[in-house]
């Protein structure tokens, strides 16, 4: 099994979720994060103080999938999240040893 972590632009979340839904992937966990990368932040000014804010709001998506599905999921995310502009984000694939569903106690692929 694989654990896929994707960092995307916030306003692309709904499209990505729909794309994953189309693939039959239902389980997703979403976190609001801030990202630092090539995309530049902005400058903020509060009375006397000026701050260069280098972090940009992003959304992190986590999805545990069967290893065989991983490529398709990565592709679906990439396609849906793409605007072609800097800051579109990353998709990371990590190995996943085991998965459990709390409610039923199911294990492995059945738990996803």
């Amino acid at each position: 099994m694989k654990y896929i972590i994707a960092i995307i632009k916030p306003f692309k979340l709904e499209e990505v979720r729909d794309a994953l839904g189309a693939l039959g992937v239902q389980g997703i966990t979403v976190t609001e994060v801030r990202g630092h990368g090539r995309q530049r932040g902005h400058t903020e000014f509060y009375r006397g103080a000026e701050y260069a804010v280098s972090f940009v709001p992003k959304v992190k998506i986590e999805i545990a999938v069967e290893a065989s599905q991983a490529a398709k999921v990565v592709e679906a995310i990439s396609a849906a999240a793409k605007t072609g502009q800097i800051g579109d984000g990353k998709v990371f694939v990590l190995p996943l040893d085991e998965a459990y569903r709390v409610r039923t106690g199911e294990q492995g692929v059945a738990a996803l």
Binding site: F11, E14, E44, F45, Y46
Partner: protein
């Protein structure tokens, strides 16, 4: 209101009236700032909240200054020539000639306010009206365009509307007598005043001749009144001048600007309804100054306007909630708050004219109709009136203005209509008919719609071809707080 620096001897200022009007003015300030700012601010997405607050702030400050430079003068002085019924003159520009002893007329004979009080009270109306429009173009308009648009709209839509509906010579102007010479001169000019007095003396005790002199004198006084005031349009605190006026401007702006990026695709739920609730509450409290203050006196008349304001609001909030509960299974707080504002809007033109039971009907009607306007009209015509300025203020103002014409009737518990254009202003108008008054109200409504529509359209075009109307998509996505104002609300 008639302003006379040299008020007649009989004129008196009651400190109770002054106290109430000072407070009413402060209350109307609170409606805009922070009330309206918060009401609107809570409804946008968190990345745009400061832009809304900033637009309201800047609007308030700019109009306040313009008001003393020329606004007050254009709205509340006699105009000249053929334009007199539509706009005033620059005679009090820079508030020239006004000092702490100047007085302004009220609706009661020989009852005056310090003119400065009247100036600040009306200033707050001038400040809030353009600010209402901000809700329509929220989240996408350029800051420079906002300023330019509001400047143009204030000059060419607000000021004429205020003059046409509210400007008149005041009750004492209608008393043609040597003792009242100051008021007579102020109303018709020095030479005409002498003329009329001479004619009156000449008339001796001949009743017919006296009547004829008085009648031609009344006509002379009325000549400089606002066009809609002379028609008998009823707008106690600003149904057409404030709400329809602003609501229509909002609709035009929404159409000219186009929809927000991502509308109907991304969620655009209000970022903080508690903020909106604070705004609603302060609007509600401030509105007592707006409505009951429009009585210009601390009197039973102010109290009934106050009572009607509570009742109209309560009925509208309950009606909107009930409507939602029936159609969506849930009554929401945002619904109740929207209903409350719709009720406040609708009761604004009505509050001094209808009775308490009439106020409940006006409020309930506004609650239902504005709910329908917001839920049905917007999707039907596809404009993006972001915070429903047209749906709530435009439609609510129309409902209120028209129903005022009905529920003013004493048969329906209303206060009846006073004939302000007669010598004896305590008599109520004999020839009131519901259909007749409704037609007058309709003219008032239509005037506001057409004037504001045309002015807004032209103002948008001017903005478009000078500073540009909208921010670019990237800035809109990032949020106006950062892209236009360089700051974030929450850290």
């Amino acid at each position: 209101m008639l302003m006379t620096s040299q008020a007649s001897a009989a004129a008196s200022v009651n400190k109770g009236d002054t106290a109430w009007m000072l407070v009413a003015t402060a209350f109307v300030v609170m409606m805009t700032y922070p009330g309206l700012a918060l009401f609107y601010g809570g409804l946008v997405r968190s990345k745009n909240v400061l832009s809304v607050l900033m637009q309201v702030t800047t609007c308030f400050c700019m109009i306040a200054i313009l008001w003393v430079l020329f606004g007050y003068s254009l709205a509340f002085t006699n105009g000249t020539g053929a334009m007199a019924p539509y706009i005033g003159s620059f005679s009090k520009a820079f508030l020239s000639g006004v000092d702490v002893n100047s007085q302004a007329a009220t609706f009661s004979k020989e009852t005056y306010l310090p003119e400065y009080v009247y100036i600040i009270f009306q200033m707050t109306f001038a400040c809030i009206t353009p600010a209402l429009i901000i809700g329509a173009f929220a989240e996408r308009m350029k800051f420079s365009a906002v300023i330019l648009f509001l400047f143009i709209w204030f000059c060419f839509s607000y000021l004429p509307m205020a003059h046409m509906v509210w400007w008149w010579a005041g009750p004492d102007a209608y008393t043609l007598s040597a003792a009242n010479i100051a008021n007579v001169k102020a109303a018709v000019g020095d030479s005409a005043a002498a003329d009329f007095l001479a004619k009156l003396t000449a008339a001796g005790t001949d009743k017919d001749q006296i009547a004829s002199v008085l009648s031609s004198y009344s006509d002379a006084v009325n000549a400089a009144n606002g066009w809609l005031f002379n028609k008998g349009a009823l707008d106690f605190a600003g149904g057409s001048v404030v709400h329809i006026n602003a609501g229509v401007a909002g609709l035009v702006c929404a159409l000219m600007l186009g929809k927000r990026v991502g509308l109907n695709k991304e969620p655009m739920a209000p970022h903080n309804l508690v903020t909106t609730l604070i705004g609603t509450g302060l609007l509600f409290v401030g509105w007592f100054g707006f409505n009951a203050g429009s009585a210009l006196e601390a009197s039973g008349g102010a109290a009934v306007a106050f009572l009607n304001t509570i009742l109209g609001t309560a009925a509208a909030a309950l009606a909107w909630s009930f409507g939602e509960a029936v159609t969506r299974k849930h009554a929401s707080l945002l619904g109740a708050a929207s209903g409350a504002v719709a009720g406040l809007v609708a009761i604004t033109p009505a509050c001094g004219f209808v009775g308490p039971m009439g106020a409940i009907v006006v409020g309930a009607a506004a609650g239902f109709i504005c709910l329908m306007a917001v839920v049905l009209l917007k999707p039907m015509f596809g404009y993006d009136d972001a915070l429903d300025v047209f749906g709530v203020h435009g439609i609510g103002g129309m409902v209120g203005s028209l129903l005022t014409g009905i529920f003013v009737s004493t048969k329906l518990g209303g206060q009846g209509i006073v004939n302000y254009l007669a010598v004896d202003t305590t008599t109520s108008l004999a020839d009131y008919t519901t259909s007749g008054q409704l037609w007058i109200q309709a003219q008032d409504v239509l005037t506001a719609i057409i004037l504001s529509g045309v002015v807004s359209f032209i103002a948008c075009l001017i903005c478009k071809y000078t500073v540009g109307l909208r921010v670019d998509e990237q800035s809109e996505r990032e949020g106006l707080d950062i892209s236009s104002h360089g700051e974030r609300a929450f850290n």
